[in-house]
Amino acid sequence: MIWVTWRQHRSQAIICLGLFCAITIVAVATGAWMRATFSADGLGTCLARSAGAGCPAAISSFVREFNSPGTMPLNIVLFAIPGILGAVVGAPLLGQELERGTWQLAWSQTVPRTRWLLTKLALVTGGLVAFGAAVTAVMTWSRAPLDRLTIRLQPPPFNVEGLSFACSLLCGFGLAVLAGLLLRNTIGAMVVGYFAWEVPFLLVTLMNGPLHILTATARIACRDGCPGASTNSVPPVTGNLGDLVLDVTRSGNQLVVTYLPASRFWPLQFIEGGMYLAIAAAALGTAVWLLHRRTT
């Protein structure tokens, strides 16, 4: 069964490898350029001396240069990859067998269909996790200078660092596998699987789904009438470049700051990754169960 799985998913594995190479080339080039600019602008010394308070203009221009969609098309591409790749790999796994009638060949050999499916899911999931982990590692290295100056709690880079990328990929894969079983059609399953993945994706990306349960509040005494105290100031009023300031209000001679501390990165990753994984597990579990009991 291992050979069968490899043979049937060989071209997808090659696509993943090619995609990874392309991402790596762009990411390494960007990372090297970023590192050169970072030291040329003297940002390292500025950060060490004043935690960024002494060079807000240099930080702003660095972040603008390397974090805008125009100069960093990779960011846009990486947004869509988990959903698209998950659908491309997941939809044919059952959809194509049912569409072309080859299920009658596959499931009348001496391997019962449930074991057939579990073996394939285990191996393909393993491959996708490896791909996701590799992309995450490359992107995390590439963005390291930028991550010192900007907020990691929002995508990008939240979607390509930590657990998010691989878990989101598995979510798209699981939904497409289930869609293939239900629709018995590869293209239909790709489309339905992709749009089903968009639901949790938009939920966490646009609506900052789990963000607000982990916020912290700080009260900062005002000096000189609290100048420049907006949510967008660099560095933020909390003094840490990685903190995501959500709201600033004045209360007497204090600023009440609602923010998400940079240290919340991993708890948020676990929440978001866990949500993606729960959806993937539910979809794949349903597919296995449906196939197992489908004797009618």
């Binding site: 069964m1 050979w3 043979r7 009638g101 050999q109 449930t114 004797t295 009618t296």
Partner: protein, 318 residues
Amino acid sequence: MTDNASVPALRADRLGKRYGHAWGLRDCTFAVPAGAVVGLVGPNGAGKTTLLALTVGLLAPTEGRVAVFGEPSRAHTASTLARVSYLAQDHPLYRGFTVADMLHLGRSMNPGWDQALARGRIDALGIPLRRKIKELSGGQQAQVSLTMALAKRAPLLALDEPVASLDPIARLDFMRDVLAASADTGLTVIIASHVISELERLCDWLLVLNGGRLQLAGAVDDLLAAHTVLTVPRQTPDADLPGRRISRTDSDRHSTVLVAVDGGRLAAARSRQPGWQAEPAGFEQLVLAYLRRPPLGVTAAERALVGGARPAGEAVAP
């Protein structure tokens, strides 16, 4: 798994399968001896594919059971899957695989796989191992499918409309190879088809299905011996005929009647009515007679359901 001749190769006991409200197959009971080549005949939707899928373990019965060499078939179990080689309609194969890949798949998915047999057959057929399936002719694809089924080394081979999409030469070659395999190894074969003339040359056993009910089952020679075609004057009522009337065709002055009757009663009837002409029944005549009459055991209401309740073109769901 045994070739013991006393254990039927294929045995069904009140086997039934319901799709929603309609029965695709019902109350099906028969026993086929080992080594038989069984023709499974019936119109589209008669339950042929359902019977095969139940045998192979792709479906679970709603009632009754079917056993292969004494072991009841159970859906989705390795032991059932190992006992039957199944060739589905249109012999599905992975189109992007090479022939060698297909054999590799057979080897990885079947513990009893006979690689020497598979390679030998493919070489003898002159099919290049490195050629992709989609580049093969329909006849070659059918032969690759048959090779996979034979190399699985299961004692029962189930073929569902194996030659429906093939040209006449490919049909002959395919069927010749099936018969040779059966003769060489004592393989029991069941072939579903609605091409009756094809089966006449191949089968020594016959199952006729119509409306999801078994109409006729038995060894071809026994069945032919038990039926006679009588030509009688047109006004002869059915009650005067010997045995059971299966079909009757009336012309201007005479009627041609196929009856199921034993030799003694036939002789007695002919001595009473010397004007009656009797001829042995032919294979095709016999099958058509059973297919043309209203299906046994099916009520008018059920007939309407069987015809319309299942999605067209889909005989069996996975």
